[in-house]
C-alpha cells in the first residue's frame, strides 16, 4: 500500500473518531443497567427498550413521524418525478433558475426555513398540525428527490421511448412499460432517503408541529427529565439503526438505477 503520507492517515483517524465516537455512546448507555448516564457502566439490560413500549406519548409521536415521513417522501418523490422529467426532456424558459431554486433548500439554514414557514402559516391563520410539518418536510426532501431522479431520467436513452412508440405503444403505455420500470430504483431510492430525512428532521418539525410532535421533537421534550435519559438513548439507538438501514437501501437502489439505465445502449460492445 503506497500513497498517502503518514500524517494524512492520522488526520483521517482523528477525524473519524471525532465524528463517530459520540454516536457509539448511544448503544453503550442504551444497554447500560443504570438510570445515570455516566461511567463506569453497570450491567447489560434491555429494560430501557422494554420501557419504551409502555410510553403512550412516544407511540403517538412514532405514529406522527410515520405519517409525516411517508407523506413527505411520497409527495416529494411525486413532485421530484415531475421536475426531473421536465428538466431531463424539455427545454423551457428559465429552466436553469427554476431548477436552482428548487435545489435551494439544500443550502438554506433549516432554522430560517422553519421560522419563515411558521410566520407565513400563522399569518394565514392555518392551524399547526402534522400537515404543516409534512409541508415543511416536502420542501427539504425535494432537492434530494430531484437530484436522485434527475440522474435516473438523464441517464435514460431517449431513443428507448421512441422505440416503444415505434413498436405501437402509446405514450401512456410507454410510461408504464419502459420509463417507470427504468426509473423505479431511483424512485425507491428517493422514497427511502426522503423518509429517512423526514424521520430524523428536528428543527422544521419543532417549529411547525403544534400539538402533534414527531419523534425527534418528542425526544427533545424528554431530555428535560434525567430519569428518561436512558430511554431516550434506547430510542435514539433504534432510530440510528433504522436510518442506516434505510440510507443503505436507498444508496443500493440509486446505484442500481444508474446501472440499469446505463446498460441500455451507451456502452456497446462488439462480439
Amino acid at each position: 500500500m503506497t500513497g498517502a503520507p503518514r500524517y494524512l492517515t492520522i488526520f483521517v483517524g482523528v477525524y473519524l473518531v471525532f465524528l463517530y465516537a459520540p454516536v457509539l455512546l448511544l448503544p453503550l448507555f442504551a444497554f447500560n443497567d443504570s438510570a445515570v448516564i455516566a461511567f463506569p457502566l453497570k450491567g447489560f439490560t434491555f429494560r430501557w427498550f422494554e420501557g419504551l413500549a409502555g410510553e403512550s406519548t412516544l407511540l403517538v409521536a412514532l405514529k406522527n413521524s410515520l405519517i409525516v415521513g411517508i407523506s413527505a417522501s411520497v409527495l416529494s418523490t411525486c413532485f421530484g418525478v415531475l421536475a426531473a422529467r421536465a428538466a431531463a426532456r424539455y427545454d423551457f424558459l428559465g429552466k436553469k433558475p427554476i431548477m436552482s431554486f428548487l435545489m435551494l433548500p439544500l443550502v438554506l439554514p433549516e432554522i430560517i426555513v422553519g421560522v419563515s414557514l411558521l410566520i407565513v402559516l400563522v399569518q394565514l391563520g392555518i392551524e399547526l398540525n402534522v400537515w404543516t410539518v409534512i409541508l415543511g418536510h416536502v420542501l427539504i426532501c425535494m432537492p434530494f428527490s430531484i437530484a436522485i431522479l434527475l440522474s435516473a431520467f438523464n441517464n435514460m436513452d431517449k431513443f428507448l421511448e421512441e422505440a416503444s412508440l415505434d413498436l405501437g405503444a402509446t405514450r401512456r403505455e410507454t410510461f408504464f412499460r419502459v420509463i417507470l420500470p427504468l426509473v423505479m430504483p431511483g424512485l425507491i431510492s428517493s422514497l427511502l432517503i426522503g423518509f429517512t430525512l423526514s424521520l430524523d428532521e428536528f428543527i422544521i418539525a419543532f417549529f411547525l408541529t403544534g400539538t402533534e410532535p414527531t419523534l425527534p421533537v418528542y425526544i427533545w421534550s424528554q431530555l428535560r427529565f434525567p430519569s428518561k435519559l436512558p430511554g431516550v438513548m434506547a430510542l435514539g439507538f433504534i432510530m440510528l439503526v433504522l436510518s442506516l438501514i434505510l440510507l443503505t437501501l436507498g444508496e443500493y437502489y440509486r446505484k442500481k438505477s444508474a446501472a440499469l439505465v446505463g446498460s441500455g445502449s451507451s456502452e456497446i460492445r462488439n462480439g
Binding site: 436513452d157 431513443f159 428507448l160 421512441e162 422505440a163 416503444s164 412508440l165 415505434d166 413498436l167 405501437g168 405503444a169 402509446t170 412499460r177 419502459v178 420500470p181 427504468l182 440499469l260 439505465v261 446498460s263 441500455g264 445502449s265 451507451s266 456497446i268 460492445r269 462488439n270 462480439g271
Partner: protein, 358 residues
C-alpha cells in the same frame, strides 16, 4: 411505397431537410447516403413520424402520414444505438410490440422464435439485454422491428457501432434478410461502400437536398457533379476543354491525354463548349509494366507514394502536364511487382473511362 413530396424541415435556423422529392418503391433496398449533417437522419425520422415536416407531405402505402403518430405508422425502426430495452430479456424485447395484438402465449412464443431464427439468435430467449454483444443487440433490434411486419423498415446507421469485420458480415446478412422478407428497407448511412454493396437505389444527400438518386452502378460510373464523384469512391480530376458536341460524339482536349472524341453518355449533364473537368477513377488507369503492354491512351509519370493493401496497391503518380498527382489502384495479381517511389512508369487508359463534369 413511400412518397416524399417537397418535404421541408428546419430546427430553429437550421434547414435540415430542404425540399426532398423521392419515390421509394415496394420491396426496394433504398439508402440515404451523405456526410453527417446532410439531413438524412432527419428525413428518416420524418418518415418514422418522430418529426413532422414543416412543408410537404409524406405518403406511405397510399396513405398521407400527416397527423399520424409513429405508433400508428406501418413503419418500424432500427435505431443507431439499437435502443434495446435494458430491463427486458431478448424474448421480451422482441415481443414488445406484440402486446397490442392480444395473441395467445403460444402464438406469441411461436412468432418470437420464428423471428429469432431469422436473425440467427435461436435459443437466446432468456438472455438479458446487458449480456448481449453489439452484433447481438443489432439482431434483437432487427427482430423486434420485423416481428411487427412493417411495410417499411427504417434503419438508422445500424452498422456504425460494429467493428469492420462484423460490419461487413452484417452487410451481407442484412441484404439477404431483405431479400427473404421482401419488405422495403430504407437505410441511412454515411458509409458509401455500405450503400453501394447493399442498395438497389441510393439517394445521395448534401445540405438537406437529394443531389442524385440512382442505382449504385450509375452513381459510381455517372455521378452528376464533382461533389458526388468525390464522395462516392475516389476520382481523379484534370482540366480539359470541351470543343464541340456533334452527332458522332463529344470532341475534347484532355491536355496531356491528347484530343479525342468520346461518347455522349460520358457527359451526364449537358455542358457548353469551354473549360470542363475530366474525371477518371483510379482503377481505370493501368500501370503498363512491360514495354510490350499497349493501351489506347498512354502517359508517363513518376511514382510519388505507394500504399500496399495486400490485395491491392494504391499509387500516387505525378504526370507531366498535370497539376495534381493521379491516384492509381492496381490489383496484386501473381507475378506483378510493386513499384518503388521514384520509379518512372507508363500509364494506360481507354477513352471510354473518361467522365465530363462541370
Amino acid at each position: 411505397m413511400v412518397e416524399l413530396n417537397t418535404v421541408k424541415k428546419s430546427f430553429g435556423d437550421v434547414l435540415a431537410v430542404n425540399g426532398v422529392d423521392a419515390v421509394i418503391r415496394e420491396g426496394e433496398f433504398f439508402s440515404l447516403l451523405g456526410p453527417s449533417g446532410c439531413g438524412k437522419t432527419t428525413l428518416l425520422r420524418l418518415i418514422a413520424g418522430f418529426e413532422h415536416p414543416d412543408e410537404g407531405s409524406i405518403v406511405i402505402a397510399g396513405r398521407d402520414m400527416d397527423q399520424v403518430e409513429p405508433n400508428h405508422r406501418p413503419t418500424n425502426m432500427v435505431f443507431q444505438s439499437y435502443a434495446i430495452f435494458p430491463h427486458l430479456n431478448v424474448e421480451e424485447n422482441v415481443a414488445y410490440g406484440l402486446k397490442k395484438q392480444n395473441l395467445s402465449r403460444e402464438d406469441q412464443r411461436v412468432r418470437v422464435n420464428e423471428m429469432l431464427r431469422l436473425v440467427d439468435l435461436e435459443g437466446y430467449n432468456t438472455r438479458p439485454a446487458h449480456a448481449l454483444s453489439g452484433g447481438q443487440r443489432q439482431r434483437v433490434a432487427l427482430a423486434r422491428a420485423l416481428i411487427m411486419k412493417p411495410k417499411v423498415l427504417l434503419l438508422d446507421e445500424p452498422l456504425s457501432a460494429l467493428d469492420k469485420k462484423l460490419r461487413e458480415q452484417m452487410q451481407v446478412e442484412l441484404r439477404n434478410l431483405q431479400r427473404t422478407v421482401g419488405i422495403t428497407f430504407i437505410l441511412v448511412t454515411h458509409d458509401q461502400e455500405e450503400a453501394l454493396t447493399m442498395s438497389d437505389r441510393i439517394a445521395v444527400m448534401f445540405n438537406g437536398k437529394i443531389a442524385q438518386l440512382a442505382t449504385p452502378q450509375v452513381l459510381y460510373k455517372r455521378p452528376l457533379d464533382k461533389r458526388i464523384a468525390s464522395f462516392i469512391g475516389i476520382m481523379n480530376f484534370m482540366e480539359g476543354t470541351l470543343k464541340s458536341v456533334t452527332e458522332k460524339g463529344i470532341e475534347i482536349d484532355a491536355g496531356p491525354l491528347g484530343t479525342m472524341t468520346i461518347s455522349p453518355d460520358q457527359m451526364p449533364i449537358p455542358l457548353q463548349p469551354g473549360d470542363v473537368s475530366i474525371g477518371i477513377r483510379p482503377e481505370m488507369l493501368t500501370i503498363l509494366f512491360s514495354s510490350s503492354d499497349k493501351a489506347e491512351i498512354e502517359i508517363t509519370g513518376t511514382v510519388t507514394d505507394t500504399a500496399y493493401y495486400g490485395d491491392m496497391t494504391y499509387y500516387e503518380i505525378a504526370v507531366e502536364g498535370l497539376e495534381r498527382e493521379v491516384s492509381v489502384s492496381m490489383r496484386n495479381t501473381a507475378g506483378r511487382r510493386v513499384l518503388d517511389i521514384g520509379e518512372t512508369t507508363r500509364l494506360g487508359l481507354g477513352r471510354e473511362s473518361l467522365l465530363l463534369l462541370s
